[in-house]
Amino acid sequence: MSASAQAEVLVRARGLIKRFGSFTAVDGIDFDLYRGEAFGFLGPNGAGKSSTMRMIGCVSPPSGGELTILGADPVKEGSAIRARLGVVPQDDTLDVELTVRENLLVYGRYFGMPRKVIRERTEQLLEFVQLEDRAKDKVEPLSGGMKRRLTIARSLINDPDILILDEPTTGLDPQARHVVWDRLFRLKQRGVTLILTTHYMDEAEQLCDRLVVMDHGRFAAEGSPRDLIARYCSPEVLELRFDPQLHDAAAEKLKDFSAERTEVLADRILLYVPDGDAALTEVRSQAFEPVTSLVRRGTLEDVFLHLTGRRLED
C-alpha cells in the first residue's frame, strides 16, 4: 500500500513546450513528480525554470506537449487545480499595507475558507514560520527573510497537495536562508510535495530528492544530487593557481595529466580526480610548483558549471 502511495504521480509532463512568440522558453521536457518528494529545477537565468513553474502553477497555458496536474488538465480545470496548490513566487506578492494576519485572511478567502478555519490555520502557520509575535504588525517594515517566511505561510493556508517555490531564498542573507531551509525541510519531512527552482547548489543539495539541470529549455541532466555528482563530476577536485606568468605553460604541461577532466580557467586550473592529494603530489613532481592549491570534494556546483558552461547570461 505504501509502495503505491509513493508511486502516485502528481505532475506528469511529456514533451512540454512553452513558446513566447518565436522564443522557445521550454523545449520539450518530460518528467514525473511523485507525491512526497522534493523535486528541484536547477539552471542559469533564462533556462526555462520559471516558465515551467508557471505552467505547473496553472497560470500559463502550455504551447505544446502534455501536462497533467493532480490528474487534471491545467487549461480546462486550472481553477480546481490551483485550489490544491501552494505557490511561493519569485517576488513577494504580499500586500505591505495590510498586517501579517490580514494577508493570510485575504488569501484564505480566495480559497473560499470559512473565517474560523482561516483564523485557526493562521495561528498555526505563523507559529510554524516563527512570526507569531508579528501577527498584528504591518508587512511593510518586516525584513526580507520575514516576508519570505510569511509568503511561505500564506502559500500553505489551503493545506496544498503540492508546494511550488520559485527561487525561495534568492536575495536573502545567509541567516535568513538557513531559517527558510529549515522550515522547508520540516515541510518535506511532513510529507508535503515540493517543487522548487533555485540557482543555489547548496539549497538543491539540502532539499531535493531529485533534480534536473535545465539549460536552454531542456533537461541537461536528471537524478539525485549524489547521482549527478557521481555521473558528471569526480569524487575530488584539485584547484591549482600558478604564478600568472607560468599559468599558460602549466596548463600546457597538465594537458596530458591523467585526470578525468581538466579545466583551464583564466586564473586557475581545475583537475577532476579520484584522489586530490595524490594528484597534487604528482603535479608537483611534473609541473611547476603552484602558488596555491586546494583539494575539495566534487559538488553539485561543479556538475552545474560543467553542464551549463561558465558563460555569463543575464
Partner: protein, 276 residues
C-alpha cells in the same frame, strides 16, 4: 497543522468548480479588506469635494449667472442646473480614479492580481471582483454627493432619487472599459494623458457647466457623442423633474453598452495579461 498525507481528498478532475459569483465575491472581499485601511480619509474627501464645488460654483458663480437671467438654463437657478451635472462628472472621476492607477498598481506595485492569480480565482473573476469594488466606491461617493446636494436644496423634483443609479451607471461606463485598458499598460505614463486629455475636456465640454446650446453648432455633435454628456443629461433630467423617457432610455442604453463592452473586454484583457 500541515496534514501528513492528503491522499484521502476528493479527486481534482471533474470536481465542480465554485460558481463564478462566489469567486468574484472572494476577489471583492479582498478589496474591502484593503479599503478598511483607507476609508476614513477617502470619505472625508468625498464629503468635502461636493461641498466645495456646490458652494463655490453653485452659490458663488451661480449668483452672478442668476443675475443675468437663466432662460438658456431652462429658467432654473444655476445651482439646480449645475449640481446634477457635477454629480455625474464626479461619478465619472471616481470611476476613472479607481480603474487606472489601482489596476496598474495591482499588476506592478502591491501585485494583488499576481497574488490572487495563484488561487482558484480566474483572471475574469479577479477583474469582475475589482470592478464590483469600483462600483461600490462610485455608489458610496454618489450617495454622499446626493446628501450634500439635497442639503444645498439643489434638487427640484423627487425624481432626483433616480439620479443615483444614473450617476452610478455613468461611473461604471468609465470604470469598466478603463480597467480593461489599464491592465494592459506596461508603464504609467499613459494614465496622465487620459486624465489631462480625457477627463478634463470631458468635464468642460459635456454640458456640465453650461448648456451645450452655448457651444458653436459644429462642436455640438462631438459633445453629444461623449459618454459624460449622456450621464449629465440623465442626472439633470431627473433632478429637475423634466424627464423625457425616450431620451432617458437612449442615455441609459448608451451608457449600458459602454459599461457592458468594458465588462466583456476586461475578461479578455485580464486573461491575456495574467494568463501568459
Amino acid at each position: 497543522m500541515i496534514s501528513e498525507l492528503t491522499a484521502d481528498r476528493p479527486a481534482v478532475r471533474g470536481s465542480p468548480e465554485p460558481p463564478a459569483q462566489a469567486l468574484i465575491f472572494r476577489a471583492f472581499r479582498c478589496w474591502l479588506t484593503v479599503y478598511r485601511r483607507t476609508w476614513r480619509s477617502s470619505i472625508w474627501s468625498s464629503i468635502l469635494g461636493p461641498i466645495c464645488y456646490l458652494g463655490a460654483m453653485g452659490f458663488g458663480l451661480g449668483s452672478l449667472v442668476d443675475k443675468h437671467g437663466t432662460a438658456s438654463l431652462g429658467g432654473v437657478p444655476y445651482l439646480a442646473f449645475l449640481a446634477p451635472a457635477i454629480l455625474a462628472s464626479s461619478a465619472m472621476t471616481t470611476g476613472m480614479d479607481e480603474s487606472t492607477f489601482p489596476v496598474y498598481g495591482s499588476m506592478k506595485w502591491n501585485k494583488i492580481y499576481i497574488g490572487a492569480q495563484a488561487s482558484p480565482l480566474r483572471p475574469a473573476d479577479i477583474f469582475r471582483g475589482h470592478l464590483l469594488f469600483m462600483i461600490m466606491r462610485i455608489c458610496l461617493n454618489v450617495a454622499i454627493f446626493m446628501v450634500v446636494m439635497c442639503a444645498f436644496g439643489a434638487e427640484r423634483s423627487a425624481w432626483v432619487v433616480l439620479a443615483i443609479p444614473a450617476a452610478v451607471l455613468t461611473g461604471a461606463a468609465f470604470a469598466a472599459p478603463l480597467a480593461a485598458w489599464s491592465v494592459t499598460r506596461k508603464t504609467e505614463t499613459s494614465f496622465n494623458v487620459v486624465f489631462r486629455f480625457g477627463m478634463i475636456p470631458l468635464m468642460l465640454f459635456s454640458g456640465t457647466f453650461f448648456p451645450l446650446s452655448q457651444l458653436p453648432a459644429w462642436l455640438r455633435p462631438l459633445a453629444y457623442a461623449t459618454p459624460l454628456w449622456h450621464g449629465v443629461a440623465l442626472c439633470r433630467a431627473f433632478s429637475l423633474g423634466q424627464v423625457n423617457w425616450l431620451e432617458a432610455l437612449g442615455h441609459v442604453l448608451y451608457l449600458a453598452v459602454l459599461a457592458g463592452t468594458g465588462v466583456w473586454a476586461g475578461a479578455r484583457t485580464y486573461s491575456r495579461r495574467l494568463y501568459v
